[in-house]
């Protein structure tokens, strides 16, 4: 059985999944080789939404380039911006006011929640249940409204500036966030009732797309994908930034390595995000929301690397500066790109329906992969 997997021979079906396909969540193009319903090989073809943001950034100043990273992983746009701001601040050596840090962490966790909620709905839709998608949007809409009030936009906020955040929190922010927390907690068991405990869903997820921890490391998987295989990879824990080391939260780790483990890790992460917001919401320090910075930012010659934990995994920003107002080379290490590379390994020998479930559990955002 294993020998024949991986070779194309006569009688194999070669199917293009995408670039326009309901379950690729964007313009991902997979060429899959099938033997009946069993997958022999998956080959991703990328580039349908490649905009070469790295090249664009080489002609943008350090204030300007942050907005463009929102367009990569649009579901956790705020955390992407966070990583960029951290890299620039690392180069400038600015100390960020405590209030700005708290605001950044709060909004990052809200973004993570919103991203996971959308993933939850999309995951259920991939395996054929359509109703949870709308239930997920109900809660996500509340987060988006909170974001809209404070940041001025719903998805691509561009709320980060080097040295802090663009505006102070909106006066309604605290009460609305607390309302949201209360509402979300009361609805969270619905997620279990509708999807987690459902026998069909469990059957579809358990034992599907198993990734061992050694493979997870070798394929460079991060975020929930790696943690579901038992690899500790939460940047908030292993390289804490922005005061995450002072917050009480657990790193969600499962050992199964299958789709259901990845599902459980994300559900656990939502609970941890709620706990982090709980700890911060009443103790937002007063003070400045932005450090004083020069109008024109120039990073000293050198190399700066910052890592943040987005909803999908480790997001790295690598800036090589030659001392000018624009970066010499900018590299984004996007979590989806590495996670995707494990897709072929995970889905060999499983069915087409499994491939869809695996893609859903990887939580791919295509602009994040293509950049």
């Amino acid at each position: 059985m294993l020998e024949e997997i991986g070779t194309t021979e006569q009688g194999d079906l070669v199917i293009n999944i995408g670039p326009q396909h309901p379950s690729t969540h964007g313009v991902l193009h997979l060429v899959i080789t099938l033997n009946g319903e069993t997958i022999k090989k998956v080959e991703p073809h990328l580039g349908y939404i490649h905009r070469s943001i790295e090249k664009m950034c080489e002609s943008l100043t350090y204030r300007q380039f942050i907005y463009s990273t929102s367009r990569m992983d649009y579901l956790s746009a705020h955390i992407n911006n966070h990583g960029c701001a951290l890299a620039v601040e690392q180069g400038l050596g600015i100390e960020i006011p405590p209030r700005a840090r708290a605001i950044r962490v709060l909004l990052s966790e809200l973004t993570r929640l919103a991203s996971h909620q959308l993933w939850w709905g999309a995951m259920a839709m991939d395996v054929g249940a359509i109703t949870p998608f709308f239930h997920a949007f109900r809660e996500r809409e509340m987060i988006n409204d909170i974001m809209e009030e404070t940041c001025g936009a719903r998805l691509t906020m561009n709320y980060m500036v080097p040295g802090g955040v663009m505006f102070d929190l909106h006066p309604n922010f605290v009460t609305r966030t607390k309302d949201f927390l209360r509402f979300f907690r009361s609805k969270f068991n619905e997620y279990d009732e509708l999807v987690t405990n459902n026998i069909i869903f469990q059957e579809r997820m358990k034992g599907v797309g198993v990734l061992s921890s050694a493979d997870a490391i070798s394929y460079g998987c991060t975020g929930p994908v790696a943690r579901a295989s038992g690899v500790s990879s939460d940047i908030r824990k292993i390289a804490p930034y922005e005061g995450y080391d002072q917050l009480q939260f657990a790193e969600a780790i499962q050992s199964g390595g299958d789709c259901f483990a990845r599902y459980l890790v994300r559900m656990q992460e939502m609970r941890e995000s709620l706990a982090i917001i709980d700890q911060l919401i009443d103790t937002i320090p007063d003070g400045e929301f932005q450090a004083k910075t020069k109008a024109v930012l120039k990073l000293p010659k050198g190399e700066y690397y910052s890592r943040v934990e987005t909803a999908r995994g480790e997001f790295g920003v690598y800036i090589i500066s030659e001392g000018a107002t624009t970066p010499y080379r900018m590299k984004f290490r996007s979590p989806g790109f590495s996670n995707l590379s494990a897709l072929d390994h995970m889905s060999r020998g499983s069915k087409i329906g499994d491939l869809v479930a695996i893609m859903g559990s990887l939580d791919l955002v295509i602009p994040d992969i293509d950049r």
Binding site: L60, R63, Q64, F65, Y67, S68, T131, F137, R138, E141, E148, E149, T150, C151, G152, A153, T156, N158, V161, M166, F167, H170, E190, E193, L194, V195, N197, N198, I199, I200
Partner: protein
Amino acid sequence: MSFLIDYIRTVYKSVRSLLIGMRKTGYYFTHHKEIITQNYPENRDTLNLPERFRGEVVMTHNEANEHRCTGCTACELACPNGTIKIVTKFDITPEGKKKKALDTFVYHLELCTMCNLCIEACPTSAIKMDQAFEHSVYDRRLLTKKLNKPDSKLMEGVE
């Protein structure tokens, strides 16, 4: 025998989990007050957008048709996509000196990403973000806008 008990238990558990899910959807089927859909555009009149919402860049004018833009091009430099083009002219001041002033503030809405950097960069608060969000038009050229009104002047005292 234990095989049979396991078999029956599996069937029972599975059916139960399915029924719990059906209870939830059944609840929402009968409780219409939980509906979250908004009837747009019927609710246009009552639609309240937050004051920070970024819809498009506008230039504020007062009743005397005066704006605050000095034509310093700070916004043009701050913009990451070349959305803003400022055309300047030279006014003759009463003292007879030549002074740089705004002629046309060209704003390409089709390029704008609402990043707010121009507003942050403006030293005189001449431009601000408006809450309008219904931007669809049939002709792309209509999206290129001239923000300063015809015959508008620079407000007194703005440098």
